[in-house]
Symmetry: D2
Subunit: 304 residues, 4 copies
């Protein structure tokens, strides 16, 4: 198995990838961008890719959502919830007073903005394509400091001038492992299903309809995100995570309902949830047995 991820070495994406036991026996392929990692899977250059989907502070990663919503179909087969901690990395010997330029990735900048304003109010912040790239650039002397993952310090020979500098301690980034379509991961009872719903543009109240289709079947949503379709302001699709597996009768039935009422629905996968948890508690009549009993009843009635 060849695993693509946003490189270079030392990114949070690599850290997420390393939490997956099977990766130890595979090949890892650092990529220049999320787009490149995803395209590597689509083209067959890689078998899977780890990309960030959302962060508990910054919200959804728009580019990942948009890549998944269009182009060749991909499937999420696993998720990894990675605690995110940032260090301020410098070349050994650099003092805080000497830090005039800081480099980091925009998302890391967003999550350490208050700390930087308070502790390095005069420093100029420069954006880079990854936090690991920022560390590399500091190593090359291009900037004085990098905001990056602790692991990047070790890989780049930098020292931590400060640790745990995130504005919200306890931030978590949710990464997903993508593959080309294939057999779905087995249902575990504590699963998640991801999809994109493209609303019919000529119908008001369409989002309310979509939510109602989930609600009547007792399917909880854990994330819903509007994304522009790019056509014009006010035209959106909805990126949705719900509890349960496509193999669950209620989830399959809800998705089939969306298929009917939406302009398009793109299924992105059913996979085990990344955090231990209890199975969803269902209102009466939403479990598989109830769906099977109702289908039998209907079949008998129709037979006359």
């Amino acid at each position: 198995m060849r695993y693509a991820y946003l490189g270079p070495e030392g990114t949070f994406a690599e850290a997420a990838l390393r939490t997956i036991p099977e990766v130890a026996e595979g090949e890892t392929l650092p990529q220049r961008s999320v787009h490149a990692a995803i395209e590597a899977v689509r083209s067959g250059a890689a078998d899977a890719a780890v990309v960030p989907l959302e962060n508990s502070v910054e919200g959804s990663v728009a580019s990942t959502l948009d890549e998944l919503a269009t182009g060749g179909p991909l499937r999420i087969v696993r998720e990894v919830l990675l605690p995110v901690t940032f260090s301020l990395l410098v070349r050994p010997g650099t003092a805080a007073a000497a830090v005039r330029t800081v480099a980091t990735h925009p998302h890391a900048e967003a999550q350490t903005r208050r700390w930087l304003r308070e502790h390095l109010p005069a420093a100029e912040v420069n954006l880079t394509s990854s936090t690991a790239a920022a560390a590399v650039a500091v190593g090359r002397g291009e900037y004085d400091a990098a905001v990056a993952a602790p692991i990047a310090g070790a890989r780049s020979g930098l020292a931590a001038l400060a640790e745990d500098i995130a504005d919200n301690p306890g931030a978590v980034t949710r990464f997903v492992l993508l593959t080309r379509p294939g057999p779905l991961p087995a249902r575990t009872g504590v699963d998640r299903t991801s999809l994109v719903a493209f609303i019919r543009d000529d119908r008001t109240g369409a989002l309310l309809e979509v939510l109602t289709e989930f609600a009547v079947r007792g399917v909880n949503l854990s994330r819903i995100e509007s994304r522009p379709t790019g056509e014009r302001l006010g035209r959106y699709c909805f990126s949705i995570d719900c509890e349960g597996h496509l193999a669950d009768a209620r989830v399959g039935d809800a998705l089939a309902a969306l298929h009917r009422i939406c302009a398009d629905v793109r299924f992105l996968g059913s996979y085990p949830r990344g955090a231990a948890g209890a199975p969803p508690s269902l209102p009466p009549g939403r479990d598989d047995a109830a769906f099977a009993a109702a289908a039998d009843w209907l079949r008998t009635l129709r037979a006359g």
Copy 2:
């Protein structure tokens, strides 16, 4: 075929029965009550029964609804919409001034109450088990006048002192033809489906849930009636007519959903609507093709 109906001869039920062409070749069995007519079918003494279900002025016929909601299962296979006109029938020669007692069935009394108050304010109104029975009793000299169907006058040798005396001209009674369960009448595209939904007692908002299951599938209700279950005040079931046939994907799917969320659902039949009309106009995604396409899509996704 043996057809039971609320007798004696001359009732509106008989008039409704006579509108069905096949009845000419069958046997008609007048019964003492709606209950008796229904039981005749259940016991096999009759093959079918015509009973009144609702009236455009009086509303639902509670006893019919309650008979259908309990006991051995029956199916509505046809409906007849019968214009209801009442005459004031007397023995030939009786003058209006001589009418001191009037006999009629409670439903007929309810529909001619204003007329009677205005034209026969001093007359005493007596209730009988059918309008035809009232005419018979007038013929026997027990009462001075009967409020009954025009046909009852002919059969009893009475004369009409006044015609069209209903308070709401244009009243219509909807009768249904009941049989034991068997193959469903063929779908015509302009059909109706009847059922009884028994709400789970421990869930508030249950009626809203039931209505939502129909609404999300684009199924219109043409009648909804709460009926007590007899257990205690505040405990109800709902007698429902909706547009469409059990063979319609949207209708079958809605009923299956009710089967899951309700304590019980009793299917009462799918049958052609009694009045000519256009097929229901559906919102996008509610026709059979959309259901079939969604099921195919789901099957493909689940196969991986």
Copy 3:
């Protein structure tokens, strides 16, 4: 105070009336019909009337609902829940084997039908305008037995051949006390509000809309009944009881919303519930304090 009720003496209506302490100091006016009792209040001939609204077995009393839905406005100011027990009353000395004719009111007949079929299968059942009138007629020798309230036996000098003959033991009838519009009964915290909602005929899903207006405000419905408007089949209004008092912010707000979206709304009164009970348990944000806080917040925002 003059109190009208469905007479003659000995009816369940009189029994309900006698449960109201203030009646002891007033005048009671038996009437020939529910209509007459209601009209006595409208005309000023009486100050109040007690009429039956629903029964735990038979369901709503259609004629009462229809009288309240049209004509001069009236208000429900009190409700009485009366346990209903029926006796088979005969002239002293009559044996069961000698009972060939039974008289009773249609509602009583409906509630003792199974008993009569089983114990007096050969007897002919005759309908009368009240159970008390049936007892009077038995006293006059017109029928062999009456199904009536126990109290009617005492008043008519009849003996009980059988007691508690209702098919559903434990049946309760809900009576309401009507007056002309005036100050509302004080809010007690355990109240009920009654109304009639006339749906706009050109809008599908109108009942769902009506229920949603209650649901979003946390107002539970305890009864909902469709009634034909008399215009044609398929045209209904809805007779509704909800928990709470018009003085409750959530109830007033829900009724105002109905006033906006319905063709017409007729308020029938707010009054203490007839059975002891706990105040409704509300979801967060539906109590008066939440409404007042929201109104203040809105006022402040609008002021700029």
Copy 4:
């Protein structure tokens, strides 16, 4: 009036600001970041700020949404819809083949990604804090080319090697003009209202409830965006734009309802829509007259 905006000169924000006639008589204050522009208003250093809220291709500007959702209250008093066109700017004389490094702001990069991949596949893309800063850096010789607004070319003495290079031609960015709270802009009939709703965390179906409160009052949403509250994955608030003005009865009533059912609601302003358009078409009973009539009716009923 002093107007803050994301500088330096030549940004899209400045272009948006220049479309407002009153700005010609005021002072303009370029700021280093959206945060700085917003803080300038909060601190009183500026009277207003122009910031981007969403883009028809990239979606919402998360940092703007998050700045508005927390901190001192601000109000949107105007919106500007700015067509977005990008040029590839170089120092005069630079040939396409010589472009090895490209600088631009992350949002511009996202909107020209496909073009860059196709036309400059080998170029390295560097991120800057604004498109105008990228142009300035190209002028200084730090990069070979900048993706920026055409206006930035003129201000920086650069030439356009390519114009209209956005992947989605016709992209529009919506900017808003922010001030400290004060009198609301007058209602025009074609208005928009912005708010943030913080869901109560212990209630499932909370988003469905929020949408229902708008829907029952006939208020259309033009944008809804979930944003993490930063506490943990799965905890969101919703940034919402709806049609109409807080002075509209239906809008005020919907916001008051949200105030009751949500943990918190932050009102962000009512203001004229930036594009000419028709007033929203309302279902019956949602205009101010209907609200006023319902309030009068309720007042009369409560008075007894």
